[in-house]
């Protein structure tokens, strides 16, 4: 087992996890548009077809319905397909197969068939891309029983969670925050160690307020915590990482301590996944809350084309302001 000596980016961690698992499980295969020679439009599969051959890394015809439907068929046959969709905005034609079949094959057949597939979805905005390349549409999946929904925010968590997703015997939607694909590097030992698919990660301890977020905005949220610390406000930061199943206990424990919660996500506000977290707070943490819950989110509009997109996305300043409102309220 090779050890990783140099720090790597999030996208490199993904490549590393894919390579590890392909080397160790011959049933794992990759399919998607341009995943072969080209190594994917984000280079997540760079070098994998050269290394594992074109029977393990397959370019598909240009049709997302095809990718999803073939994956269900492959998985029902005991293969472990890792399907790549090029951008979040192209995932919609896959939903029928994901919702009606991937998520239900096991329960439909009382366990006779199952669907151990992973759908990799480069996710979110902020990269100055064309329309439909910047969607934060995780809420499409979070109300669907039978799925797991994962959204890592660091190279190490991307590596460990992707390994877990591939090994999981059921379908996993693995969304990747493309804005931070190459934002920074860290050491990610290539040791094949998976991370659990049902826990939130506390990235920073704090006592005055709990900041809950996921994906690329973990960065802004941590920066907000820094800014708040400068003002003497101690913020705990939680990276949800796995949205479904949600580890609400970790959030609850934090809020028991802090009494305040600000949820940050870049998806549109209404019925975004932040709503579920706020709802569970209203159900289970009411007596702990010293102030109303706040959500700092994208507006209820499609993310604008790139000249304006940064005005759409939550910013460090907006997060700080929400925390201060929360503190003033309580």
């Amino acid at each position: 087992m090779s050890k990783q000596a140099t720090p790597i980016t999030l996208i490199e961690a993904i490549t590393q996890a894919l390579a590890w698992e392909m080397a160790n499980d011959k049933n794992v295969l990759i399919l998607g548009e341009d995943v072969g020679v080209n190594g994917g439009v984000f280079r997540a599969t760079a070098g994998l077809q050269q290394r594992f051959g074109d029977q393990r890394v397959l370019d598909t015809p240009l049709d997302e319905t095809t990718i999803a439907g073939l994956s269900v068929g492959l998985a029902a046959q005991g293969m472990k397909p890792i399907a790549e969709v090029q951008f979040d905005g192209f995932v919609y034609p896959m939903l029928d197969h994901i919702i009606c079949h991937a998520a239900r094959l096991r329960t439909r057949t009382r366990g006779r068939l199952s669907c151990p597939m992973v759908l990799r979805v480069p996710w979110g905005g902020g990269i100055r891309a064309p329309e439909h390349h910047s969607e934060a549409n995780e809420s499409l999946f979070t109300n669907v029983p039978g799925l797991r929904v994962v959204l890592p925010s660091s190279p190490a968590r991307a590596y460990g969670l992707l390994l877990a997703a591939i090994r999981d015997p059921d379908p996993v939607i693995f969304m990747e925050p493309k804005r931070i694909y190459r934002q920074y590097k860290e050491l990610v030992p290539d040791d094949g160690e998976a991370l659990p698919l049902d826990v939130c990660f506390v990235l920073r301890d704090g006592s005055d307020v709990t900041l809950v977020t996921w994906g690329a905005h973990v960065k802004e949220t941590l920066e907000a915590a820094d800014a708040l610390a400068a003002d003497g406000i101690s913020a705990e930061v939680i990276d949800v990482a796995t949205l479904k199943p949600l580890d609400f206990d970790t959030i609850h424990e934090s809020v028991q301590k802090t009494g305040r919660c600000v949820i940050v996500h870049e998806a549109a506000r209404t019925a975004g996944f932040g709503a579920e977290i706020a709802a569970q707070l209203a159900e289970k943490s009411m007596y702990d809350l010293l102030a109303p819950v706040e959500r700092v989110t994208g507006y209820d509009v499609p993310i604008p084309l790139f000249r304006l997109e940064m005005k759409y996305l939550p910013s460090v300043e907006k997060i700080v302001a929400a925390v201060k409102r929360t503190l003033a309220a309580g």
Binding site: G69, A76, D96, C100, R106, R108, T109
Partner: protein, 359 residues
Amino acid sequence: MTTVASFEIDYLQYLAPDGKPLHKTMPRFAKDSKNLVELYKQMLLVRTFDSKSVALQRTGKLGTYASCLGHEAAHIGIGSAMRPEDVFAPSYREYGAQFMRGVQPREVLMYWGGDERGSDFAVPRQDFAWCVPIGTQCLHAAGAALAFKLRGEKRVAVACVGDGGSSKADTYAAINSAGAYNLPFVLCIINNQWAISVPRSAQTGAKTLAQKGIAGGLFCIQVDGNDIIAVRAAMDEALARARAGNGGSVIELVTYRLGDHTTADDARRYRGEAEVKAAWEREPLIRLRAWLVGQKVWDDEREAEWKIECGKRIDTEVDAYLASRTQPLESMFDYLYAELPHDVAAQRAQALAWEARKP
């Protein structure tokens, strides 16, 4: 202008509606009349099953049910041509094909009776379950075929879809990917002329449904779906070609839906009696029976005996279905994931506690 590609759609039929042979020779398997007798018996069995199922629904003992009346040659022809190790992806009414593969009538009844256990076939373990979202099964079959190809297995995936389903985007996607990857894949388009109330003519401007396969570079043929000899011959050839790695096929089976779409439908609202009456003259059992009787391998006595046997077999199945108990509440949780996530596990506990509550 030069011609860069040309295509023909052939039509295959061996027996006329009255059972007269249309060609001098029969395909190999049909030369042994034992084979045909066996197929005929299976067609009668599934017809017995079908009428019993409709009766069960009418008396409130079954949910909505989709009849296979008139499709017996198509379904039995498809199922009988496949090997056990092949994989079948049905839509919802191809019981004949499924019985040939080992699915039990009681499983079909469980399914339409609102019980997931119907899809847990004792045999064949790898076949897909009934597929309600029209056409999606075609891509699952293509995916299974891709698995066979990647693993170097000599197996074939067969999907059935209707004339209505031939319009579905998934059906095209399956055809196209089967061609792009040269998959061991056979798509049977069962053209029974109706998609609920929408006639074949309104589905598409294509002259045949077989030609859908041209869009993906597959072999295409149209067969008389009421002539089981033609169905078997076309299937045998397509399966052999696929198994040999020589490409996928689209077979259009032209037949007729003699009954309502399902028991929830009333076809008199949208189609005339004359059409149905005419279709009864082309239905699949008459002609094969006539041929077999002419060959002196079948007669009224054997038919009567076999019908009694069919009745018995189906009664046993119906009894087994009717005796089945509803699954326990927790069954709705227990097969969703290999291991239940903590949040759903908590709901399961809650649900059980609720069931167990004292009123």
